[in-house]
């Protein structure tokens, strides 16, 4: 069982977490001027990297979304931080 670090609750069992999305996606605005291709990129396309990655996760237990840096091959976690907050 792996422990993931919630920036609010500390290290907790991986089963308490849910993957949300890759980090760095900004909703395109204004919606009326956004092309279908741009929505596709925002909604569906991913880098899905092999190796180091930055992702948004949800700690289901406390209900907070946060950023986590980890490696998709080794599963080692480099760190996590609150969205828009200081690293911890």
């Amino acid at each position: 069982m792996q422990l993931f670090p919630c920036p609010f609750c500390g290290p907790r069992d991986e089963t308490e977490f849910q993957f949300a999305t890759e980090a760095g996606k900004t909703r395109p605005e204004p919606a009326a001027e956004v092309s279908a291709e741009r929505w596709t990129k925002y909604l569906y396309l991913k880098d899905n990297p092999k190796g180091p990655t930055r992702e948004v996760w949800l700690h289901v237990t406390c209900g907070e979304f946060f950023l986590m840096e980890r490696d998709t091959v080794s599963h080692a976690v480099a760190g996590s931080q609150a969205l828009g907050g200081d690293p911890r």
């Binding site: 396309l45 880098d47 092999k50 091959v73």
Partner: protein
């Protein structure tokens, strides 16, 4: 040298000490150029090469595999073949594959051990029985076989199922697809490899594609660990590694890679002669010809390239197994492993031209692409040979993520892929 497999050649070779068998395929050095190059020596890549040669007469073809044939998901999968999907587009695809599987052993002259023992999808409540009825109706309307079973009929198919009236997931009824079944995974890869080789295809193992050759905005070949290989047409069939290669070709895909695991028990006497899936637990299992109970379930919840599998899903799958078959609590598990599967938001595959002209995609099969190997190969070969879609692959083009015309099987058929 003996090439053809039959009872007669087996007997003849038996008398000669089996000295005359020819290797099932050659291991040639890569040539500098081919008419078509396929990246990935899993079932889909090998089948593509076979149908390019067989259906389109294109024999100057190479399959480039970074490791060994079938060592990816094809050789790690639990081999269930079925076509119990919801949307007409999906049934057209998976039933096409199932029909090709029905004749495949003979066509390839290779025993793929296809056993149409049926798949029993068990429902546990009135609500789930309504979903089950909806799936059966959809399947029948789409022209494939499906039956709705009563609890007694379901228990008759798998007598060891949990009959405890207080069971957490009681047997309320089931969906039955009798033509579904299992096949030998390696044999499908090896059978296509041998048949493709027989038609002149070069199968190149231990050769990793590291980049693409692009000239005037068009893909004209690949860079590999064994040199540059030029090609008029390039096919990509690398499952969980699709995004890695897409990045080298300069585009993104709607794919997330996850681990999917499975386990087998010690071999025991015959006790289960169909494939059973529980809607409630998401666990499915069957008994292999060797007697092992093969058991699997859903995806690990952590995006991954690890091909290892995390413990929480093992616990979920095994507790599901014990709920379904309490007597299997006596079994000792022998092996656990995982593959690296390519999951698409609508749980349907990606087949079609890629954003880089000259490069064609066959990926996104996620947790369920063994059943579709013959169709995936047939359709990618059609694309590579003609430059345009076969009618069956058209709905699975990448453009559905722009038009919004998804084939949402995750929601549609209510089954874990």
């Amino acid at each position: 040298m003996t090439r053809r497999y039959s009872a007669w050649t087996l007997a003849k070779e038996g008398l000669r000490g089996h000295a005359g068998w020819q290797p099932a395929w050659r291991s040639p050095a890569p040539k500098p150029s081919y008419d078509a190059v396929i990246i990935g020596g899993g079932g889909h890549g090998l089948a593509t090469a076979y149908y390019l040669a067989k259906n389109h007469g294109i024999r100057n073809v190479a399959v480039i595999e970074k490791a060994w044939l079938g060592g990816g998901n094809t050789g790690r999968n639990t081999t269930t073949i079925r076509s119990n999907y919801f949307y007409p587009e999906s049934v057209a695809l998976y039933d096409f594959a199932l029909k090709l599987y029905e004749g495949l052993g003979r066509e390839l002259n290779y025993n793929i051990m296809f056993s149409q023992r049926g798949v029993l999808t068990v429902a546990h409540s009135e609500g789930e029985m309504e979903i089950a009825a909806r799936i059966v109706n959809a399947m029948q309307i789409n022209g494939t076989d499906a039956e709705l079973l009563t609890p007694a009929q379901a228990l008759d198919k798998a007598p060891l199922l949990n009959r405890d009236p207080r069971a957490r997931y009681p047997v309320f009824g089931a969906v039955w697809q009798g033509r579904a079944g299992v096949a030998r995974h390696d044999a499908v890869a090896w059978g296509y490899a041998r048949a493709a080789d027989g038609l002149g295809v070069d199968i190149i193992q231990d050769c990793e594609v590291t980049d693409f050759l692009v000239e005037n905005g068009r893909c004209t070949g690949v860079e590999t660990t064994r040199g540059t290989i030029r090609a008029r047409s390039v096919g990509l069939a690398v499952a969980g590694h699709s995004s890695v290669l897409a990045a080298k070709a300069g585009f993104q895909l709607p794919i997330q890679s996850y681990s999917l695991q499975a386990m087998v028990s010690e071999p025991v006497k015959p006790c289960l002669d169909t494939v059973v899936l529980y809607m409630g637990t998401g666990t499915y299992l069957f008994q292999s010809d060797k007697g092992e109970i093969v058991v699997g379930g859903g995806l690990d919840r952590v995006p991954s390239y690890a091909q290892r599998g995390n413990p929480p899903m093992q616990r979920t799958v095994l507790s599901g197994m014990l709920e379904m078959f309490p007597s299997f609590g006596q079994l000792k598990m022998l092996r656990q492993w995982a593959g690296n599967v390519d999951v698409v938001p609508d749980s349907s595959p990606l087949i079609g031209p890629s954003p880089l002209p000259g490069l064609y995609l066959n990926c996104g099969w996620g947790t369920g692409g063994f059943k579709s190997i013959p169709a995936g190969g047939w359709l990618l070969a059609h694309l590579m040979a003609t430059g345009s879609h076969h009618a069956v692959s058209r709905p699975f083009d990448l453009d559905r993520f722009v038009t919004g015309r998804l084939v949402d099987e995750a929601a549609g058929s209510g089954i874990a892929h």
